[in-house]
């Protein structure tokens, strides 16, 4: 099991989600983040003051996947999130010892397979 953590541009989130769903990766969590990297620095004005905005808005995805899915997930995110300009973000692949599904207590691979029967129409 791995967790794939991707930091992407917020305006690319819809593309990435769509691509992931198409690739049948349907379990994930996101959160808002801000990042610093090699991006062109933006400047903010507040009255007399000028400030550099060292941090840019990003979105963080955390996707728990079983090992066979790692490659496809990484490639999918990479393709969908890319604009080619500095600031596209990073993907980290982190090893996971154990995954549980809270609802059932199922573990590992079973835990990350969404129940396809209900919902997600």
């Amino acid at each position: 099991m791995k967790i794939i953590t991707a930091i992407i541009r917020p305006e690319k989130l819809t593309d990435v989600l769509e691509a992931l769903f198409k690739a049948d990766v349907r379990g994930l969590s996101i959160s808002r983040a801000q990042g610093h990297g090699g991006e062109i620095v933006q400047v903010t004005n507040y009255r007399g003051l000028t400030a550099k905005m060292e941090l840019h808005e990003k979105v963080r995805l955390d996707i728990g996947v079983s090992d066979p899915f790692v490659e496809i997930t990484v490639q999918t995110v990479m393709k969908a999130a890319r604009t080619g300009e500095v600031g596209d973000g990073k993907i980290f692949v982190v090893p996971v010892e154990k995954v549980y599904r809270i609802r059932t207590g199922e573990e590992d691979v079973e835990a990350v397979t969404p129940p396809m029967i209900e919902g997600s129409v």
Partner: protein, 412 residues
Amino acid sequence: MSGADTGWMILATGMVLLMTPALAFFYGGLVRSKNALNTMMMSFASMGVVGVLWAAVGYSIAFAPGSAWTGDLRFALLRGVGLDAKGSIPHVLFMAYQGTFAVITAALVSGAIVERMRFSAYLVFIALWGLVVYAPVAHWVWGGGWLGSMGTLDFAGGTVVHVNAGVAALVAAMVLGPRRDHGRQAFLPHSVPLVLLGTGLLWFGWLGFNGGSALAASPVAALAAVNTVLAPMATALVWMLLDAIRTRRMTAVGAATGIVVGLVAITPAAGFIGPRAALALGAIAAFPSYYGILARSRTRLDDSLDVTPAHGLGGIVGALLTGVFARAMWGGGDGWIAGKPSQVAIQGVGVLATLVYSGVASFVLLKAVALVVPLRPPEREEAVGLDVLEHGEEAYSSGEGAVLVLSDGGDR
């Protein structure tokens, strides 16, 4: 001159003035937070740009005696606009009251092109639009121009303000083209409470907009104000029911939109129809705009905040229904129900003239502005949001730590 009328009209001026910030909140809440300040600045900047130009020449174009088409320049730079009476109030107050109308009408247009227009291009556009489009149309109807002479009934600006802004918005949305992610992304309002705040303040201000158009603290002012209370209530109720029937839920944005549509629709009729007719007019007006918005959102037309269906369609419906419901006993003229069906046609002419003139002129102005400065920012800017790149600000800063101070000046 009358103290009662003066007091009332000072307040009406303040109330209409407040409508422009209110519009900023209404529009600002509907966009994404990365464009919230840009959207609000489109309204606030109109107070500076259109307001000052109104005092400089716009007022004279609109309200000085002149031809059937425009006023002459005798009041330019407020020459001769002082404390002498205009009706029962000081002339200078009449000028300022009308100025608040010009400011908000220009700001209304912005709703169609939010999240994708260069701010400098926008400023130049509304500066010109206020003088070339708004002022003449105001002259036609209220300044002694041809529509007024023809007998068009427009109590507080259904045609001058709303049809006018609505068609300019349509043209602007078409000229600028859709936002780059339009149709692929659901643009959800970043703050519905802000939308509701705008709605509440707009409604309050609109009592000055419609009631003040009587230019006196008269029974007609009272009637206009009461109708401005009643009609939107009916529109909101119908709107909520339409929502419930279609989706089994009533949205807050829907209720707010319904209220605004009701306010738009009652505007031309406010002092000309009775309160029961106002309720009817409000209820009827819900339908075209409701289904207009539904239809619009199924097209590629990115009239982002639905200015055309809400203000354009709402204004047209209001103008025509004024011709239906008007009754001379309330203070204006008779309409269809009172036995003068031709009034509907007269109303139609007013609408049509405004549609054509404002549509063509807005198109020409935008194309002219585009020659000088590109109307749209680069794609990256649209993606990141206009607040940071066009204004150097964020609507909501987390504040802590994220930003370091530069030791000097302001050039980016």
